[in-house]
């Protein structure tokens, strides 16, 4: 990998790190299980590794931003995650911050 590509790859990782929480939290406004989340995000152009999403879901649950329930009604038991009230409040704050930032960054980039 050339030096420029390497710097680019690191840059993308840094950018994505903060955004991942926002995307996952937003997606969990509807009950979702890990694998479905990975698929849906990939289909929306945000490819995230399962080994990133699963531990993240767990950490958000530990912070009481998500809650989870096992669905054992089918032959494939799945753990569904859904946003909590605390998660909703945080999501609103981060979304607003994100929109302002994107607007400001766009202004800078277009200058």
């Amino acid at each position: 990998m050339s030096e420029l590509n390497e710097i680019y790859a690191n840059f993308v990782v840094e950018l994505r790190r903060g955004v991942t929480n926002l995307v996952v939290l937003s997606h969990c406004q509807q009950p979702s299980y890990g694998y479905q989340l990975v698929k849906n995000l990939a289909d929306s152009g945000i490819p995230l590794e399962a080994n990133t999403v699963y531990p993240l879901l767990r950490r958000l649950e530990d912070q009481a931003l998500l809650r989870s329930d096992w669905d054992t009604s089918t032959d494939k038991p799945r753990k569904y995650y859904q946003i909590t009230e605390k998660g909703r409040q945080l999501l609103a704050q981060i979304t607003s911050y994100w929109r302002d930032s994107v607007k400001n960054i766009e202004t800078i980039l277009e200058a």
């Binding site: 299980y33 890990g34 694998y35 590794e49 399962a50 080994n51 990133t52 699963y54 531990p55 993240l56 767990r58 950490r59 096992w70 494939k76 038991p77 799945r78 753990k79």
Partner: protein
């Protein structure tokens, strides 16, 4: 290995790093993820071992996956901000130990009259090496504990209200003073605790080197020496971290002074504190040195002190005066600085 067994082992390898109460739940969730991924990958055909391996490889190494579940896990023995302080302390300690061990080993070599130069230098190098290893281990262990236990250093105060004021010039503690005191303390420890048979050697015509103090007494009192030196090292460490006269600096200086006084009084009160051979030789030309100093001004003091040999009293007086001056200077700089 069969696919199911491989999956079972993989999940175990991940979950064994997690807290007990999370293992089963995370394990079931991973199992569900692996099954879904395999089902999609095989598209209805029977799952092969190669499929399983590919899916597990995508998930990554078990230890790395487990680490993602607990991002707060510290993956370094000593990380920042402790690491920079650790490097600085280590440099000073290693320098002091090298100097101290070199001087002590050279003196020991002269005392034991090692005639083989190679054996002599090998023993000097070996002593220095052992000293360095010990010092390295202790400093590393202490800093690893400080880092792992999140003990905050004066350096990483991040609250604006807590930022330390820029020290006034008179309040500053110079690094060279700390290093000089540290080397002196290490030398003191080595001479009086590690090689008490050497302690302070004097060159005497026809008799070679004679230690001034009685080694047996030093061995009996070695814990007191260690305690006094430890108090001094504690004081120097606090001086190093604060780099100015603060209350902790003053109180550890006070502790150091108290321990020094206890050590000196206990030591000099012991009969035969001096090496008998040294006393014998000195008596030839200055017998008054070892007679009780029956000066009138001393008569009011407790018998234990007034009956001490003159030489001991001179040393005792000198050291106590030095300690008192140091304590007063530190006190004035601390409290004057606080008010300023």
């Amino acid at each position: 290995m069969e696919s199911k067994e491989l999956i079972k082992r993989y999940i175990y390898a991940v979950t064994k790093h997690l807290p007990e109460n999370k293992r089963q739940d995370v394990g079931q969730e991973l199992e569900s993820l692996i099954e879904e991924t395999l089902a999609e990958r095989s598209q209805g055909r029977p799952v092969s071992d190669a499929d399983t391996k590919a899916v597990l490889m995508e998930l990554g190494r078990p230890v790395e996956l487990a680490a993602k579940y607990d991002p707060h896990t510290k993956d370094a023995l000593i990380g920042q901000p402790h690491f920079s302080v650790y490097l600085r302390v280590l440099r000073i300690v290693l320098l002091a130990v090298t100097l101290g061990m070199a001087i002590a080993s050279l003196l020991e070599g002269f005392i034991t009259f090692e005639s083989n130069v190679f054996v002599f230098f090998a023993s000097v190098l070996s002593n220095i090496w052992q000293g360095l290893l010990g010092a390295f281990a202790w400093v590393t262990i202490i800093f690893a504990i400080l880092y792992q236990k999140d003990v905050k250093l004066d350096y990483d105060k991040d609250d604006l209200e807590d930022l330390p004021a820029v020290p006034e010039r008179h309040q500053e503690i110079k690094l060279r003073d700390i290093i000089a005191s540290f080397i002196f303390t290490i030398l003191f420890l080595i001479l009086f605790v590690v090689v008490p048979q050497v302690n302070i050697p004097l060159v005497w015509e026809n008799s070679g080197l004679i230690p001034v103090f009685n080694p047996e007494v030093l061995i009996t009192l070695r814990w007191l020496f260690v305690a006094a030196a430890s108090a001094q090292i504690l004081n120097l460490s606090i001086r190093f971290l604060a780099r100015r006269h603060t209350l902790p600096v003053f109180f550890t200086t006070l502790l150091e002074a108290i321990l020094q006084v206890i050590l000196l009084l206990t030591w000099f009160h012991t009969p035969n504190a001096f090496n008998p051979a040294f006393v014998e030789l000195t008596n030839d030309f200055a017998p008054f040195m070892f007679e009780p100093a029956n000066w009138a001004p001393l008569q009011s003091l407790p018998v234990a002190i007034s009956a001490m040999p003159l030489l001991l009293l001179i040393i005792l007086g000198g050291v106590l005066l030095g300690t008192l001056i140091d304590l007063i200077t530190t006190g004035v700089k601390t409290f004057w600085g606080q008010k300023a």
